[in-house]
């Protein structure tokens, strides 16, 4: 039971991270119908910016942990969002009206570019970081101990999700975005600046991915230029699992994948956890092709 709870917490925090990345995929897919393959690299850049910010703060002599964490969060969200915006502007916007495969290839190219860009600039070796946020919360007479980092991940994700849902459902920006998702031409005719909304979608997705990157840096304490690929694939799996285009679906998918991974590694060993993830994906798609929360698609002639 204790072990079970432990794995549950691990799975939830991992799932929160996948969910945060998956939101970027699902929003972009919802609005322009493409798989943003470079999104995994955006998350990797977020982790790197967080690491660099922490080191810069350290060299400036700022070591008070809460302040450092806040600055890290803000910096990585800001700078990564600029990367997200630039990627969209350079590689996807000119291809808005092209055949479906063109933006995908462009995205794969961008992903390869960003990976090598970071590798050349920051070096290929993995970057270790001493734990910043230490300590555990022990429950049930010490049977279950939850590190503050994982707890913080879950709390921050929930808070972000709450704010984000408000943004999408309550504000004008969110309404415009949902309108673009439904029908871009119509939204444009009604005075919505479609290009700006799409850019903002990328900016928001990148900012959320940056949070995920920072959390991974804090939890695991080691990053390298290659982490974006697998995390990206799994997050996309999460988005598909939850029903692509659906925001709660992305979060749910992320949590499901996180839990599968955590329990599989906890009980069966970590070697085959990725196989388990992909197998579940295939099974879900076969029996429920629109994902858990997706709308059924009507085939039109």
């Amino acid at each position: 039971m204790d072990y079970f709870l432990q794995q549950l917490i691990n799975g939830l925090s991992l799932g929160a991270i996948y969910g945060l990345i998956a939101i970027g995929y699902t929003m972009v897919y919802g609005i322009i119908g493409m798989i943003n393959f470079a999104h995994g690299e955006i998350y990797m850049i977020g982790a790197f910016v967080a690491l660099i910010t922490f080191l810069a703060l350290g060299s400036l002599g700022i070591t008070w942990v809460p302040l450092a964490l806040l600055v890290m969060l803000a910096a990585s969200m800001l700078f990564t969002a600029v990367y997200g915006w630039t990627v969209e502007r350079i590689a996807y916007r000119p291809l808005r009206s092209s055949p479906r495969l063109a933006p995908l290839i462009s995205a794969i190219g961008m992903s390869i570019f960003l990976q090598n860009y970071v590798q050349i600039l920051q070096g290929a070796r993995s970057k270790p970081l001493q734990p910043i946020l230490t300590g555990n919360l022990t429950m049930m007479d010490g049977a279950v101990s939850v590190s503050y980092v994982r707890l913080a991940t879950i709390v921050i994700t929930v808070a972000l999700m709450y704010g984000f849902t408000q943004l999408i459902t309550r504000t004008e920006l969110g309404r415009a975005q949902r309108a673009c998702e439904q029908d871009k031409t119509m939204a444009g005719l009604l005075g919505v600046n479609v290009d700006r909304i799409i850019s903002l979608t990328f900016v928001m997705g990148a900012a959320l991915a940056a949070v995920a990157g920072m959390m991974v840096l804090l939890i695991y304490g080691v990053i390298d230029f290659y982490i974006g690929f697998l995390a990206g694939v799994k997050a996309f799996t999460a988005a598909v699992l939850g029903g692509i285009g659906s925001l709660p679906g992305a979060m749910l998918g992320g949590v499901v994948i996180g839990l599968i991974e955590a329990f599989w590694s906890g009980y069966m060993g970590s070697e085959w956890k990725d196989v388990a993830t992909f197998t579940i994906l295939v099974l879900v798609l076969i029996f429920r092709p629109t994902g858990l929360l997706g709308r059924p698609e009507i085939e039109k002639v």
Binding site: A102, S106, I108, I112, N116, F236, L285
Partner: protein, 505 residues
């Protein structure tokens, strides 16, 4: 996209240009400050930071100037920009710069702006619209497509003659084999992506199945290459059916992600099942192919077998095996090409092309979609398997490292960059994607960087692929460009191949 005459001198709106350039430079500043300006370095005490503000300043300055250049082209100052950009590119090329990165930005950025300026000067337009560019390239593509009728055979003859020329040394032959391997893989994937219109992101899985089939069969049962080649193809086709059966009912992007997942699963299995596959260490000592099982390519053959050079009375040369491998992959690739060219005219191929154009219409016409897609998938997988077992016997060593997602991406890039469905496009794209990086090996680190950027640029320039060609091979009424002729014209164009009964059912 507004047309502005180059000749008419007008006042240049400097404030607007400066503002636009400053904004771009500000974005560049935000992009470069964290990753370019601050580098993480390993210090004995842990991670440290190193600052490189000079590179940030250089990058931001160049972006600023570049943006001004682009604005000036728009304002009709094409000639001036052309000269300046060409000068900048030349400066980057000939003068030694403090950092390598600066040099590359100068050369590439200068060249791109110079090309744009040259286009503007030539056409008198600031920017061609996408449709115009497309039309122009379509004409070239159509010409190449027409020319491929005689260009193809010439290419084959040249490829056949190449090893016999004195030019052919070890290194060039190796590059030739590499190129041909990718051409074969590209042609194989073209069946799925270009003909059947299915987006397969895990083609490398079948390549891996083929390679490991041969390696394991040779390792555990001592089977020879010539026996394993068909077996590897069969096993790969079988795995294609196994994967395809459940997932082919999925829609486009779901299908893509499942194939990606399948590719990863295969790789993880290869890594983790180390008792059987050797895990991350791979399998070494894979036997080399013999000369059709008759003779070996060794100086001193084993008892009872014959050596290739003895059989033909030649001087022993280590090159013989390389040349043989070259011909082997050439023939394998040509088999794939021949198959594709022929199958397009069969009911099966026409059903694929129809599926690519309209899934639902096909179902309404009674084509069994799943079976047709499954056939495409299995056949492409089989060719992937052949290529895989060739790869294993050429390398003599395989490991899961060779079968990562990036390989799938490269093969897919070859197909899409070349223009889906175009056989000659695959060859051109292979020369670009594999050949160019091979030629610029000294760039080492920057190779993959340029590769990624190149993929993006080609797609921006020509979203449908360099030599896009997706006219159906056989049309009921007339052929492309000739307009809709009568039924008689249709018969003539189709070469009397039974045009009307074109449904695979």
């Amino acid at each position: 996209m507004t047309a502005i005459s180059v000749s008419s001198p007008r006042a240049i709106a400097w404030p607007a240009i400066i503002k636009e350039a400053a904004l771009t430079a500000f974005v560049a500043l935000l992009l470069t400050v964290p990753l370019v300006g601050l580098r993480t370095v390993d210090r004995p005490t842990g991670l440290g930071l190193e600052t490189r503000w000079n590179e940030v300043v250089a990058a931001v300055g160049l972006v600023f100037l570049g943006r001004i250049g682009i604005c000036l082209i728009r304002e009709g100052q094409g000639v001036l920009v052309l000269v300046l950009a060409a000068a900048a590119a030349a400066a980057g090329f000939f003068i030694k710069m403090p950092t390598e990165a600066l040099r590359i930005i100068l050369i590439v950025g200068g060249a791109i702006i110079a090309i744009r300026a040259a286009m503007a000067v030539r056409t008198g337009r600031s920017k061609l619209s996408q449709a115009e560019r497309d039309k122009r390239m379509d004409r070239i593509a159509a010409k190449v497509q027409d020319a491929s009728r005689w260009l193809g055979p010439i290419g084959v003859v040249l490829a056949l003659a190449f090893p016999l020329t004195p030019l052919a040394d070890r290194q060039l032959l190796d590059i030739g084999i590499l190129l041909l391997t990718y051409v074969m893989l590209g042609w194989g994937l073209n069946i799925v992506v270009g003909l059947a219109g299915l987006l397969d992101l895990g083609y490398v899985a079948f390549y891996a199945v083929g390679a490991y089939s041969y390696a394991l069969l040779a390792h555990y049962f001592g089977l020879s290459f010539w026996l394993c080649l068909p077996l590897a193809g069969l096993l790969a086709a079988f795995s294609g059916v196994l994967l395809g059966f459940p997932v082919l009912r999925l829609r486009g992007d779901y299908f893509a992600i499942v194939t990606l997942g399948f590719g990863e699963i295969i790789r993880i299995i290869l890594v983790n099942w180390y008792q059987f596959t050797g895990g991350p260490n791979g399998i070494s000592g894979i036997p080399r192919p013999s000369f059709f099982g008759i003779a070996d390519f060794t100086r001193t053959p084993a008892e009872g077998t014959m050596a290739f050079h003895e059989m033909f009375g030649l001087e022993f040369s280590a090159l013989h095996r390389i040349i043989f491998l070259y011909y082997l992959i050439l023939v394998l690739a040509l088999v794939v090409n021949f198959f594709t060219l022929r199958v397009r005219k069969l009911p099966l191929g026409r059903a694929w092309e129809a599926l690519r154009e309209d899934d639902i219409a096909c179902a309404s016409l009674g084509i069994n979609r799943t079976n047709m897609k499954l056939a495409a998938f299995a056949i492409a997988a089989m060719f992937g398997g052949f290529a895989g077992s060739f790869f294993a016997t050429r390398q003599g060593f395989i490991s899961p490292e060779s079968f990562t997602f990036i390989e799938s991406a490269i093969i897919l890039a070859i197909v899409v960059l070349g223009g889906m469905g175009s056989q000659i496009g695959v060859v051109v794209a292979t020369l670009l994607v594999i050949g160019l990086p091979e030629a610029f090996r000294e760039l080492a680190d920057y190779r993959m960087l340029a590769f990624g950027m190149g993929m993006v640029l080609i797609m921006l320039w020509r979203p449908r692929g360099l030599l896009a060609h997706r006219d159906p091979t056989i049309l009921l009424y007339g052929r492309k460009g000739k307009g809709a002729g009568g039924p008689a014209a249709g018969t003539a164009a189709a070469g009397g191949e039974g045009i009307a009964g074109g449904r695979a059912k």
